[in-house]
């Protein structure tokens, strides 16, 4: 049984005060900060993601759990920075042009951050040109692209093409996701990877970076 059972339960229920108290308890007990995140918060959000996929919870509960994780991260982040945990890699993430759905993208960004990546969130309605401009500025290892609409999915290959035209396609790995996106589509548009949910987004990002 996980030593973070109470924390996991509080995050899955979206109980902010209990989760914050449990996080503080784990810190005071001298636990490894990254372990509190990985085995507590991320494990909890994986469970939340599973419950969403199974249809046992809906979007608001997911949002509450995400908010709870964010509040816990506020306690953990300063300690992470104090410690010697170097970034697992740089990620820029955004929802494609024409699309304003950002709940899934925000979750992916939060989980990647929790897993140790340095994440720059470009927001929603991000044009291919903006992805390119930010990629040139930030020099990320990974460009993560989200789309929730069938009308905006074509902006994904357009973004990949823009990276290619700017001469930076081979300097970054592209990972895509969003409810209508599939692994097959990722292959078709020559993205490097695809993640079905926030948990697999992290796993895939780690694979792209060659870390397990």
């Amino acid at each position: 049984m996980s030593e973070f059972k109470a924390l996991i339960e509080a995050v899955t229920k979206g109980d902010i005060s209990k989760a914050v108290a449990e996080t503080q308890k784990a810190i005071d007990a001298g636990g490894f900060i990254q372990a509190i995140i990985d085995e507590g918060l991320i494990a909890a959000m994986d469970e939340v993601g599973d419950n969403f996929s199974k249809g046992t919870i809906f979007v608001p509960q997911m949002l509450r759990s995400a908010k709870t994780m964010q509040e816990c991260m506020k306690l953990l982040e300063p300690l992470l920075k104090e410690g010697d945990t170097s970034s697992k890699g740089k990620v820029i993430i955004g929802t494609v042009k024409g699309d304003l759905h950002d709940i899934g993208k925000n979750l992916v960004a939060m989980m990647m951050e929790g897993a140790g990546f340095t994440v720059t969130d470009l927001g929603v309605d991000v044009s291919p040109e903006k992805f390119v401009q930010k990629a040139q500025e930030v020099e990320p290892d990974i460009v993560a692209i989200s789309a929730l609409l069938s009308t905006t999915m074509p902006a994904m290959p357009q973004t990949i093409e823009a990276l290619q035209k700017a001469g930076i396609r081979d300097k970054v790995k592209v990972i895509i996701g969003g409810a209508p996106v599939t692994a097959k589509y990722a292959q078709e548009i020559k993205a490097d990877s695809y993640g079905a949910d926030a948990g697999s987004a992290v796993t895939e990002a780690k694979k792209l970076m060659g870390i397990s």
Partner: protein, 196 residues
């Protein structure tokens, strides 16, 4: 001499299209047509929508009916699902596009991504379809969902009752401006008749 009765055609449609289909009097014009409508509330849970849709398609196939699917791309990859099932799908990504026609719809989405579309059924049932499942009575939640939106666009149909004041109430609730765009049924009629 034997007379062969023409094969029956079934339109499996989202309930939002019922007034349009009745207005176009398709049942009178095409006696071999049959209709199945599914509840629009299924949109918020695409997996459930897919299960219901496939069940109706299978039922029609058992009766050896030709099938026309009158839905947007409301579940992932619906066009391919239809093709795989041997079902004809009316082209279009959403009911808004089918009502407005592709050109006008594209114009609206090119103008601003921050448009949230409304049609009759959504206005009347906004509480059941959105406020309750998304918990929009909670101001923080509302902001989280709609912070990037700029306007509501009510796609008004010829058969709609007067919904302007309800649409204004929604615009106030969501703190967005309201525009109205009239859609006749000419685009929908053309796309349907091509397949019938």
């Amino acid at each position: 001499m034997t007379t062969k009765t023409a094969k029956r055609t079934r339109i499996v449609a989202c309930g939002v299209f019922k007034p349009a289909i009745e207005h176009l009097r398709l049942a009178n014009r095409y006696p071999n047509l049959r209709f199945t409508y599914l509840p629009p509330v299924l949109h918020i849970t695409p997996q459930k929508l897919e299960q219901h849709l496939l069940r109706r398609i299978t039922a029609a196939q058992r009766k050896d009916e030709r099938i026309i699917c009158l839905y947007g791309e409301c579940i992932p990859d619906l066009s391919n699902v239809c093709q795989y099932q041997g079902v004809m799908k009316v082209p279009g990504h959403s009911c808004y596009e089918m009502l407005l026609g592709n050109e006008r719809f594209e114009q609206f989405i090119d103008e601003t991504a921050g448009t949230y579309f409304l049609e009759k059924d959504l206005i009347i049932n906004f509480r059941e379809y959105c406020i309750e499942p998304l918990e929009l009575d909670d101001e923080e939640m509302r902001d989280c969902y709609f912070q990037h939106y700029r306007k509501l666009l009510y796609v008004r149909q010829p058969t709609d009752p007067d919904l302007i004041s309800q649409a204004h109430d929604l615009a106030d609730f969501l703190e967005l401006s309201l525009s109205v765009s009239d859609a006749d049924y000419s685009h929908l009629e053309k796309s349907l008749i091509r397949l019938i």
